[in-house]
Amino acid sequence: MAGLAIAPGVTLFDLAHGRAPEEAASSKVRWGMLIDSGKCATGCDDCVAACGKENGFTGSRETDSQWIRKVEIKDLRSGQSHSLPMMCQHCEHPPCVDVCPTGASFKRADGIVLVDRHICIGCRYCMMACPYKARSFVHEELHDQNPDVPRGKGCVESCTLCVHRVDNGGQPACADACAGAGHNAILFGDLNDPSSEISKRVATLATTQVRADLGLNVGVRYQGL
């Protein structure tokens, strides 16, 4: 899996990342993210802005979609506070998939949790079930969608881990934006590949799963909490 070294520090990369178009996503891969809240600045919302731009949503009314949001948390006893982005955690055992009556909510082989809008009936049961408040319902008609990110009224949606970019060998827009701004608080990678940066860090650092008590084995991990 590790790829062929063609020069020091440069490897020919043949992971399922950038796989052939006719090749299906494989369960050998599990996409995930590691978010370092120590590097995530209060007030910075580059990741949120990039996600909105990529996926086509704006606004923060109660009826507006928010695939990713910045959460500020504060321990009232110690006064310690953190800032972090919160989005779909791409659970291994997603409650949204369990409750979906039609099977529109599903988990792809490579661990990305998606909504199949073709069979979503808009019942919103998944929104009731999600522990992370990661899902949004499209409350009104949309126009001028990104051709890569179809979205529309009456269906539920959430972070797709920028599946259209990942399938083409890229990484999610939020991770790109965070790195582009020099924060490097969001690390995207394959949790199943022991040689990937994310796996190495998860193996050595103390990382946290939000609502670990639910035993969902999330794909988005946090460090520094």
């Binding site: 950038g18 178009p21 126009h143």
Partner: protein
């Protein structure tokens, strides 16, 4: 169970007249609508605008009959498995068939809409899917050839040989969820 006597009681002559009148009206309406269908001037003929490419991904006769099945099959493969082949991709259709003036497959003369209006088949794709091609032309790359640099930054920055489509942003934000 069903009391026939009661039913008969309910069917008074007045109601009988009303029922007959209703039946007569609907019969006339059906006959009239048949007549409209036969006079071709009532409904605009669909527009078969030339696509941008040389030829379609399959014979036109096949596509006319089966495009919906192919699109549905393709959508499930893409959605569920992440298979993104280009032959029956909806984006491919739109890239080729978008109207030269409106840059869209919708509208009165739009490739999709004009024919669907003619055939009176509901077109459900474009409530979610964009009806215009991506703002810049996607250069189809060869897969499996991206290069990864082992940077120390902690973020695996990928310098990809396969010209990953960093394109001009399409107009995604305007109007979307306001």
């Amino acid at each position: 169970m069903f009391s026939l006597a009661k039913l008969r009681e309910m069917l008074t002559w007045r109601r009988g007249v009303v029922l007959t009148a209703l039946l007569a009206i609907s019969a006339v309406a059906v006959a009239a609508s048949d007549e409209f269908a036969s006079s071709s001037s009532r409904v605009a003929k669909p527009v078969y605008a030339e696509g941008k490419g040389d030829k379609c991904v399959k014979e036109e006769s096949y596509m006319r009959r089966h495009h919906m099945n192919e699109l549905k099959h393709h959508r499930n493969e893409t959605m569920r498995k992440g298979i993104r082949t280009s032959q029956f991709s909806l984006q491919g259709c739109i890239d080729c068939h978008a109207d030269k003036k409106t840059n869209s497959v919708l509208g009165k003369d739009g490739f999709c809409q004009s024919c669907h209006s003619y055939a009176a088949v509901k077109l459900d794709c474009f409530e979610c899917h964009a009806s215009k091609p991506k703002a810049s032309k996607v250069i189809k790359a060869m897969p499996n050839q991206s290069v990864q640099t082992g940077t120390e930054s902690g973020i695996a920055t990928e310098l990809q040989l396969n010209t990953y489509t960093e394109t001009v942003e399409p107009n995604t934000t305007s109007g979307a969820s306001k």
